[in-house]
Point group: C3
C-alpha cells in the first residue's frame, strides 16, 4: 500500500485519531488532522481512556508539556492501544532536558510504539547518544541521527522518523527520505507535534512504514505550496493548512526518495 493509497483511504475512512498532546499543540494539531481528512480527538481522562482508545484508529502520544497526571494517561492509553493492536506514535519532545522527561520517554518507549517521530536531537538522545538539542529545537542534522534511528528501529521493532530539512524514515530494514518544505516550518510552534498527530491518522489507514512516509510527504508537499505564497510564519501557517487539504494523493511521490 503506497503512501498515496493511504491518503486516499484516510480521506475515505475519516479515522478517529486519539491524540494526547501538549497544550501548545492541541489546536494546531487538531486543525492539521482535520485539514488532511481525518478526525482528531483530544481525550486524556483516565476514567475514559480504556473505553475510548479501543474505538480509535490510532493513538498519538506527545510529551511536550508533561506532568505526572498526563504521563499516567499516556501510559494507560499506550498500554490499551498495545493490547488492542491499535497503532500508536510516540513523540518524545525535548526529552533530554531533564531526568524526569528522559525517564518518561524511556518508559513510553518500553510500551513499544508503532512509530517514533522526533527531530534529530530527540532521536539521538533516545538512542543514548549525545546531541546538541535546545528545548524543542534540534541542534543536530538529520544525517547525524540516521544510525541512531536505525538502532532504535531494530531494538524496538518500530518505525523511526527523523524530521528536519530532509526527513529520514526507517523500520530497520527499509529506509526512505523526504525532502521539501520551508525553513519557516520550525518557526511555527508545534508543527512537529502536529506532524505526529497526522502520522497517527496515516497509521490508522495503512501499514506503519508507508504511513509514516505518507505523513512526512504530505507535510513536505503542503510546505512547498505554502512556501510559495507565505510572507512569514503567520501567513505560512494559514497557507499550510489550506494546502494540507488541497494536497492530492498523487502529489506525495514527488517528494519521496
Amino acid at each position: 500500500m503506497a503512501p498515496q493509497d493511504i491518503l486516499t483511504a484516510l480521506r475515505d475512512q475519516n479515522p478517529l485519531v486519539h491524540c494526547i498532546t501538549n497544550y501548545v499543540a492541541m489546536n494546531i494539531a487538531a486543525n492539521v488532522v482535520l485539514a488532511a481528512g481525518a478526525s482528531p480527538a483530544m481525550v486524556h481522562a483516565p476514567e475514559e481512556i480504556p473505553e475510548f482508545t479501543p474505538i480509535c484508529g490510532a493513538l498519538t502520544v506527545n510529551i511536550g508539556t508533561l506532568s505526572s497526571a498526563w504521563l499516567a494517561s499516556m501510559t494507560t492509553a499506550a498500554t490499551v492501544a498495545g493490547a488492542h493492536n491499535i497503532p500508536w506514535v510516540l513523540d518524545p519532545v525535548a526529552h533530554f532536558i531533564s531526568d524526569y522527561r528522559k525517564a518518561a520517554a524511556q518508559d513510553l518507549l518500553a510500551l513499544r510504539p508503532t512509530v517514533i517521530r522526533g527531530n534529530a536531537s530527540e532521536i539521538l538522545a533516545l538512542a543514548g547518544e549525545a546531541g546538541a538539542g535546545k528545548g524543542a529545537d534540534s541542534g543536530d542534522s538529520v544525517d547525524a541521527a540516521q544510525s541512531a534511528a536505525n538502532a532504535l528501529a531494530t531494538q524496538w521493532g518500530a518505525v523511526v522518523a527523523v524530521t528536519g530539512p530532509v526527513d529520514y524514515v526507517t523500520d530497520g530494514t527499509q529506509t526512505a527520505q523526504v525532502s521539501g518544505g520551508s525553513p519557516l516550518m520550525p518557526k511555527i510552534t508545534a508543527l512537529g507535534c502536529s506532524q505526529t498527530a497526522l502520522m497517527g491518522a496515516y497509521c490508522a489507514s495503512g501499514p506503519a512504514f508507508q504511513a509514516a512516509l505518507g505523513a512526512l510527504a504530505h507535510f513536505k508537499v503542503a510546505g512547498n505550496a505554502a512556501a510559495k505564497v507565505a510572507n512569514g510564519p503567520g501567513s505560512f501557517q494559514m497557507h499550510f493548512l489550506d494546502a494540507l487539504r488541497s494536497t492530492r494523493p498523487q502529489d506525495l511521490a514527488q517528494v519521496i526518495a
Copy 2:
C-alpha cells in the same frame, strides 16, 4: 428583543463571559468572543469561581477535554450561576464516547442550563436516543435530532440549539432555523465550541431563545462571508474572525427562518 438588538446591546455593553472550555478551544473561542464584541474570561480555579462567576454576564461550560478536576470546577460554576440567575450554556461535547462523560453531561444537565448547544449526535444522545456520532463529529442530521431537542427543551426548561448545515433552535414552544455557513466549518477545530462561547455572550445581552438564535445567525453570516474568499480551512478561519467583527446587526435576519 430581536437577535439584531441583542448584538447591538452586546457591543454596547461588552459583557464579561466566563468560559470553562477545553484546551483545544480556549484560544479560538476567546478570539471569537472578542471579535464579536464581548469579553471572554477563561477561569477554572475552584478557589475563585464563587467570587468570579457572579460578576460575569454569562457562563459557558464545555466538556471537550474533560477531567475530574475540571468537572468539579464546571459543577461549581454552574451551581453559582444558577444561584445568581446568571444564564449559562452547556456544550456536552462527544459525551457519548464513554460512561464517564455521559454521566458528567447528565450531572451538568441536572443543574439546569439556560441553553444547551450540541451537534445532532450529541443532542440525540443527551435525550437518550441512539446516534451515529464519532468523537466530536456528528454522524446524524439536524432534522433527525429535532424531536430530541424538543423533548430536552420541555424536560429541562432550556433552550436547545442543534448546530449543523441548518441549525435548529427551540425552547419547547418556539422554534427557528438558521441556514448558511460553509462545509469548511466542521474542518476547523473547536468552531462549535466557540459557537457555545459566543452564545454565552449573547445570553448576557438578551433573553435566551433570541440570544441563541442571534449567536447562530452571527456564525452563519460570518461563515457566508468567509466562504466567499477562503481557499481552505486556514484562510477560512482568518476570514471568519474578520467577518465576526464586521457583521452588522441588521445582517442577522437574512439567515433566520
Copy 3:
C-alpha cells in the same frame, strides 16, 4: 545596550525562554517568540523545573488560567530563577478578580521579578490602588497608572511596563514611552500575554530596562505594519506574526519616546 542591539543579539543567540503561561496564550505566545527570533519552552512540571530553568536565558510567569498546581510551579520556577540570577518577567493577569488571584500576584511579586508587565488596571491594583479593570481587559488609561508603576518599580527594584495605546516603562529612575500599534490588538486574545513572553526573550539578551523597552517597541512596530493591511482581528494576527519576523532592529527607535 540600546533596544535595537538587544534585538540583534536575540536573533544571534536564539535564547531559550522558559514560559509558564496560561492555556489561552500558549500557542500564540510561542509563535510570537519564534517569529521574533528566540526559542520558547513551555514547561511546568515541578519535577523538571529545578533542572530546566537554570539552562534558560529567561523565565516568564503569567497567571492567566491559574490553579494551585500551576501556582506552585510558578513559585518554584521564580525561586530557581532568582537563585541563578536568571531574569524573569511577571504578568499578573486580571489579578484583581478574586482574593485568591490577588494573593498569588503578591506572593509572586515578593519573589522579586526583574520586570513586571501589565495593563493599566493590573498595575494600579498591584500597587494597591483602585481601578476599573474587567477580566483581562483594562478599564484604566496608561497615564492613570504611571505613578503606580513608579511606586512599584521603586518598592521592588523592578522594571515596570504598563501596556496600552501608549506604553509606559520605568525602572523608578528612567522612564520611556512607546506608541503605535492598532486598536485591533486588544481584540486578539493573549497578545498581552505574548508580549510578556517576548519580553523574556529580550531580557535574555540585554539589560532589563532596555529589554522591556525593546520588546514593547517590537510589538508596536509589528502592529503598525499589520494595521496597514489587516481587515479584522483574524488577518491582523497573521500579518502581525509575519511582521514580528520582518521587523529590523533599526525600526525600533522610531516608536520610542
